[in-house]
């Protein structure tokens, strides 16, 4: 069975660092022909423009070619084909499969049956490991280190899979965490238990203003209306988790603001002009990191 990247827990600390090292090489020389003659399939059973374009850009810049679909309505799954059959077929057409699927565990299942490596580009609310690796790369690039950082997560701690994966991954590097969220969207107990077991200090708070002044990294996420059981509660709290330009005064000089995007209104547009705004740079790093992941899984780097 070939090696896949399905869950962030599939990789050890050394393997994260190895991917980050390879990504650095790609940043220095983004256009390469390491994937020359390789065909990469991008199977998006659920649409995601940003992630798909980032992967496809990574393949083209590395000299490879892409086949695939961007919406399951244009794939044979609408004819009732099982995922099993789609994966077994597409495995014969390509050297590696990048897939996003609305059902949790779909990529894990695909990795068990495919003859080529699978990269999970999102399986429902479960995992999206390339996002986590690009977040780590962005943190390293802006802070010069991954160790001993204060990371402030803001927004939806309950359903935010990017938060969960980054918390797990950064736990290897002695961080301090702040979780700023409405009470309804607090971090699930299983993650708190994990942090307790690893002696990692964290604070849960609704006070964004206090936490932001401590931060090396502010990781913003979207608070979605549909996550609230009580719409009045949403109306009361929605503005408490919006980052405004005025809130940047008094923050650390090395502080950077990250966001997995898409943004709706949780970061005010005025913040974009600040040199602390890093979310668009972050997407650029995503291409280097995906170049690194693909070429590493294919044994080419």
């Amino acid at each position: 069975m070939s090696r896949s990247l399905v869950s962030i827990t599939d990789f050890s600390k050394e393997e994260y660092l190895n991917i980050i090292e390879i990504a650095k090489e790609f940043e220095l020389q983004p256009v390469q022909d390491v994937l020359k003659g390789k065909v990469i399939a991008t199977l998006f059973f659920e649409p995601s423009t940003r992630t798909r374009l980032s992967f496809e850009s990574a393949v083209y810049r590395s000299g490879g070619n892409v086949i695939g679909f961007s919406d399951s309505s244009t794939s044979s799954s609408t004819k009732g084909e099982t995922l099993n059959d789609t994966i077994l077929t597409v495995s014969n057409y390509c050297d590696l499969i990048v897939m996003r699927h609305p059902i949790e565990g779909a990529a894990k299942f695909a990795s068990e049956i495919a003859s080529v490596p699978i990269i999970n580009a999102g399986d429902g609310s479960n995992q999206h490991p390339s996002q986590t690796l690009l977040d780590m790369y962005s943190i390293l690039k802006t802070q010069g280190t991954l160790d001993n950082l204060a990371i402030v997560f803001v927004g939806d701690m309950k359903y935010g899979r990017t938060v969960h994966s980054l918390v797990m991954a950064m736990s290897h590097f002695s961080p301090r965490f702040f979780f700023v969220s409405p009470v309804e969207l607090k971090l699930p107990d299983e993650y708190k238990l994990y942090l307790d077991n690893h002696n990692i200090p964290y604070i849960e708070t609704t006070d964004f203003g206090m936490a932001i002044r401590e931060a090396d990294i502010v990781y913003m996420t979207r608070v979605q209306r549909e996550r609230f059981s009580d719409p009045i509660e949403y109306e009361k709290t929605k503005n408490a988790y919006i980052l405004k330009y005025s809130m940047l005064s008094g923050t650390k000089s090395n502080m950077k603001i990250m966001h997995p995007l898409p943004r709706v209104n949780e970061i005010s547009r005025c913040v974009d002009k600040s040199d602390k705004a890093y979310y668009f740079e972050q997407t650029k790093n995503g291409v280097f990191v995906r170049q690194a992941i693909i070429s590493n899984l294919l044994g080419l780097k």
Binding site: S7, T82, L83, N84, H101, P102, I103, E104, G105, A106, K108, F109, D123, G124, S125, N126, Q127, E190
Partner: protein, 158 residues
Amino acid sequence: MFNMSFKDEKTLKVSAIKNGTVIDHIPSNCLFKVISLLRLDKVENPITFGSNLDSGKLGSKAIIKITDVFFEDSDINKIALIAPQVKLSIIKDYNVVEKKVVKVPEEVVGLAKCFNPHCISNHEDITTRFHVLTDNGDIELKCKYCEKITDQERMVLL
């Protein structure tokens, strides 16, 4: 003295077997789950069972006696999912020749259903697989596919 008479009473209720396996200390409300877990409904050997018997430890217990059937440890350990306190006796010529306790397995394959309706194992023809976690003595199953945890309350056996 009391123990003796208690034991005698039990023997009357579920008669002894010459050779085979006795599964004792099953909580009464788990009896039928144990029967289905061990696929005893497919066994053609003589089986006797008693339920709602008095038990000091459990309050109410059930017992199963299966003639001429001896289980693999891997089968026995499946019982840990629902009744970890069960005790097995291997009977040869009316004598207990070996006692076994169930051990919690590290992995559970094809026995339970993932509670998550959005899990791939509930959408494709897949054998379910779980890592076994123990939380204060309770057994919980972490799905190898969706990574969600199915606790005792939501556990449905296949």
